[in-house]
Amino acid sequence: MRPFSYTNAKNKEQALQNFTKTSHYLGGGTNLVDLMKEDVERPDQLIEVASLDYKQISKNNEGGYTLGGMLSNSETANHPDIRQNYPLLSMAMLSAATAQIRNMATNAGNLLQRTRCPYFFETSMPCNKREPGSGCGAKDGMNALHAIFGYSEKCIATHPSDMCVALAAMDAKVEVQKTDGSSRTIDFTDFHRLPGNQPEKDNTLEPGELITAIHLDEPKFSDHYYYLKIRERSSYAFALVSVAAGLQIKSGVITKAGLAMGGVAHKPWKFTDVEKYLEGKKPNKVNFKAAAEMAMQDAKPFEGNKYKVEMAKKAIIRALTQAFEREA
């Protein structure tokens, strides 16, 4: 590792004031420290924010709940209010990594974890995300784990988080504190971005912005939900593709649908059109199949990840079916 300085921020103000261009906030460190060891991230200063007092789960004004940014993934996913009101989120979070990593990982850090593209991790390889202008090694190399939607010439990476897929299906909001002392709230679908010409930017945060909370509106999909994660071993592996599916059903008709996928794009991929399509429809095989076809109609895979299209269709149908069939 390269030498760096370390500050344990006592409060939000200290964290924000200490921030410089070459600083990084430190949450659980499960992603950042790995990347520092790999020489991918090279901060001069780490400002530890994991111990700041944003560790609550509380009711908010929108009739929903607010998750503290520094609360651990484990405590969030296992919290009785989350299990009961947002079981889709809980299920997605518990499918990630291992218990040990979830104990360390913070909610804010989870949103900001970086891609698992192998070229990004290996400093001797070209990678526009790590080193803008060096090229994208994956495009003409190994791209089995890469995007089928929304990529650019510059980068075809995917966002690896499971938690974020559920948040995308549920219309969450992210609250951030700015270095000037003000704060702002970002719609979850606008939080992560597509690579475009700036693959080095994963999201729409400005330098120094500190995530302190995630807001959820009224409880969603607590009866009909499923998070399906297809991976190469039964646990402790990132998704090849994953589906967060939530349904609200009244008198045999879908009144609201939430559908997002992981492992297919630079951001959690929300199928707003498909959600609309499903609303008012009956929850049955024919409609689920049509939804899957519709979801995949614009998919443009690469040589190495062609399998994702078929896999994703099967995953969508299965996730919707499991969500529907779940005993209320």
């Binding site: 297809i230 190469e232 039964s234 646990s235 399998y307 896999m311 995953a315």
Partner: protein, 723 residues
């Protein structure tokens, strides 16, 4: 005498070294407190082929704590590889920094020595290298023209293959592939080396000390007696710690240069690039059988890769020479030199991979013959190793299959794939036959007896190693058995090259060799003591009493055990059968191994507990071959894309459920006097095939390329004949 019975061989006692390990008291190579020690770290090349044009070490050298940077410019001259392609063997020299050539991605090109580990690591990043790059040979397909036959042992044939195929009613021609895999034991390769006055003493986790000292002495051109290696505990090797790798050379060179002890710990990343691997194998199988199930022909052709300057191949086809009765047989192995590091032995080299191809093909042929795959195997059983033209010393394969079938509930298997269902799951049963050579080699040991009051204590010394298998325990049990003393009275000292020579741990020969060596030392001690008192050999007398009669409180003896003439006239193997039940998700391609039954006949089981550990470890590793283990090579640059344990997937608990292990009682005194056969590798052998066969039984899809990942399962079509 009760305690003696409870601790002699065959008893499932707890490991005598277990407590030391779980309390952290057992010292591993990098953990010895050595004064004045410094740290070395290797710098790896970032190209796969070319020439170093410049190395700028100035920035690294300026860093606080950095003592030196070694490159080809200031490295001492070492014995290099011979000009022609050398066989990579246990004693092959390990030269480093001898020229500017780069042969594979990740090759060491410099070594930093610093006061602290952190300084050394940071300084590595500051070494600036430029290259004259050449286009590397990375693809097997693009280099097929360069395939060559690696020596006489690579090919074998018996009878007339083509005639055998013509005679067959049913034939099968299929190709199977297994990927590059890495051993990745828990403990990283590490050493603390002290070069002092022309002599080298090191703590280093080497599996075979007598060979490692030869390799080091030849690399540096110093007498073998001047090299000492100490390694009381090794945190797993799986073959990767058989050879001396270049980090040992770097640390030795550094210690000589700096005049201080040097510690080196290979990083997890370097465990992919610098300490060996299992090679990719492409295996073409041709089989023929007549209607009653008798095999008429069996061919096994393997194509693999090797390094540009070193040669290694795992003999995948060997299993096809000996496992079944077949009049016509052909086996070949071909290698293609690539700019990838030299492959090496990984647990059951040849057998783990070869048995995947053979036992899958056998299953496929049984399906074509509409025969039960167990009946088909039994039909072609043989008590003669036709490949070596020798009888087996003992072979209980049929018993393993029958008893296993019973225990597993094979009769509930549905012949037609896709017919056993539960919810979204398709359930399948699979079987495979396992075999693994059970070598036994010359082994020496020294025993020191000590009488304390009336209690007899014994101290046994040998240069054996414990790679996590339980060597301490089984050697103690052997001494307990042959001296008739409780195991608590036995002290085992191993892992020091100054102790009597053994073949070390590897190739499943450790247990049989170590224990017979220990036995011989005990027997010699008793015989010598009896002789002094003119007591006939057959007379039964306590060893303590013998010492008293001799008026001795202490006595030393040495013993060397070695294979008999009978041993050489036979083929000595362990056998087994694997049974697997898998549940495959009908849509997602994900699957779980619900249960496995393994039945083994491996001679005398020294300690059922440690033996069980070996088998379940083997089964898990075999399952790993199927589930996810694979190292991928970047097609343009030649580096390994899988470079950490986060992306090199080994099985997790949830992948595997119940494992049942049965050992058949077997008396095989031809194998060796104690009738001990190896089990370290038997457990991994053919496991992959039993799982792949179960997946076929579940889904009707034949998966011939490991690992069997969800994407492959989703894309695969149904086999002809599947309803």
């Amino acid at each position: 005498m009760k305690t003696i019975k409870a601790s002699g061989i065959g008893n499932p006692i707890d490991r005598i070294e277990g407590h030391l390990k779980v309390t952290g008291k057992a010292k591993y190579a990098s953990e010895f407190p050595v004064e004045n020690m410094v740290y070395a770290q290797g710098v790896n090349s970032t190209i796969a082929k070319g020439k170093i044009t410049s190395i700028d070490t100035s920035e690294a050298e300026k860093l606080d704590g950095v003592l030196a940077v070694i490159t080809y410019k200031n490295a001492e001259k070492l014995k290099n590889y011979p000009k022609d392609m050398t066989n990579f063997s246990l004693t092959t020299v390990a030269p480093v920094f001898q020229d500017r050539q780069v042969h594979y991605y990740g090759q060491y090109i410099a070594c930093v020595i610093a006061e602290t580990f952190e300084q050394a690591q940071y300084a590595c990043r500051l070494v600036k290298v430029t290259y004259e790059e050449e286009s590397p040979d990375i693809h097997l397909d693009k280099n097929r023209g360069k395939a060559y036959k690696p020596g006489d042992s690579a090919d074998f044939s018996r009878g007339d293959m083509d005639a055998g195929m013509r005679e067959a009613d049913v034939t099968l021609e299929q190709t199977y592939t297994t990927p590059i895999e890495h051993q990745q034991p828990m403990e990283l390769h590490a050493a603390i080396v002290n070069w002092n006055d022309g002599k080298v003493k090191m703590y280093a986790n080497q599996q075979i000390l007598n060979q490692a000292t030869t390799s080091i002495s030849e690399t540096f051109g110093i007498p073998k007696e001047d090299v000492q290696i100490i390694t009381p505990y090794i945190g797993g090797g799986f073959g990767s710690k058989l050879n001396v790798y270049k980090h040992i050379t770097m640390a030795t060179m550094a210690s000589k240069m700096i005049g201080r002890p040097v510690q080196i710990t290979v990083t997890r990343h370097q465990m992919f690039t610098n300490t060996g691997m299992r090679q990719f194998d492409e295996q073409e199988m041709r089989l023929g059988a007549i209607k009653d199930g008798s095999l008429t022909a069996l061919a096994h052709h393997t194509t693999s890769h090797t390094a540009k300057n070193l040669q290694y191949f795992e003999a995948c086809g060997n299993v096809s020479k000996m496992l079944y009765k077949t009049p016509n047989n052909a086996v070949t192995h071909r290698l293609i030199p690539l700019n990838i590091q030299c492959p090496s032995s990984m647990r059951a080299p040849g057998e783990a991979t070869g048995s995947f191809a053979l036992e899958s093909a056998i299953d496929e042929l049984a399906w074509k013959l509409k025969m039960d795959p167990i009946d088909f195997r039994i039909k072609n059983d043989t008590q003669v190793d036709m490949g070596a033209d020798k009888p087996f010393s003992s072979r209980l394969l049929v018993e393993c299959l029958r008893i296993g079938a019973d225990k597993f509930g094979w009769e509930n298997r549905k012949m037609q794939p896709g017919t056993n269902k539960k919810g979204n799951w398709l359930i399948g049963y699979g079987v495979s036959a396992a075999s693994r050579r059970a070598p036994y080699m010359k082994t020496s040991a020294k025993i020191v007896l000590e009488l304390n009051e009336a209690a007899l204590n014994a101290n046994i010394k040998m240069d054996a190693t414990d790679i996590g298998t339980g060597t301490y325990t089984i050697v103690a049990q052997t001494v307990s058995e042959y001296l008739g003393i409780p195991v608590e009275n036995v002290k085992v000292e191993i892992g020091d090259s100054e102790f009597p020579v053994t073949p070390g741990s590897g190739g499943s020969w450790g247990a049989a060799s170590y224990c017979n060596g220990a036995r011989k030392a005990c027997e010699n001690a008793i015989a010598e003591l009896k002789k002094k008192q003119n007591i006939t050999e057959s007379e039964e007398i306590e060893v303590a009493e013998l010492l008293q009669q001799n008026n001795l409180t202490t006595f030393e003896a040495e013993g060397t055990a070695e294979p008999s003439e009978e041993y050489k006239k036979h083929s000595v193997f362990s056998f087994g059968a694997n049974f697997t039940e898998v549940w495959v998700d009908k849509d997602t391609g994900m699957y779980r191994i619900k249960r496995m039954v393994n039945v083994g006949s491996a001679g005398k089981i020294l300690n059922p507990k440690t033996a069980y550990g070996q088998i379940i470890g083997g089964l898990t590793m075999g399952a790993g071959m199927v589930i996810a283990e694979r190292t991928q090579v970047e097609p343009n640059y030649g580096n390994f894309i899988t470079r950490t344990l986060a992306d090199y997937h080994v099985p997790v608990n949830l992948d595997l459920a119940n494992i049942d292990v049965v050992f058949l009682p077997e008396e095989d005194k031809i194998a060796n006097e104690m009738g001990v056969k190896g089990i370290g590798e038997l457990g991994i052998t053919s496991v992959a095939a039993s799982i792949a066969n179960a997946i076929f039984n579940a889904t009707g899809k034949r998966m011939r390329d490991l690992p069997i990942t969800p994407e492959k399962l989703i894309e695969a079509g149904l086999e002809p004949g599947v309803a």
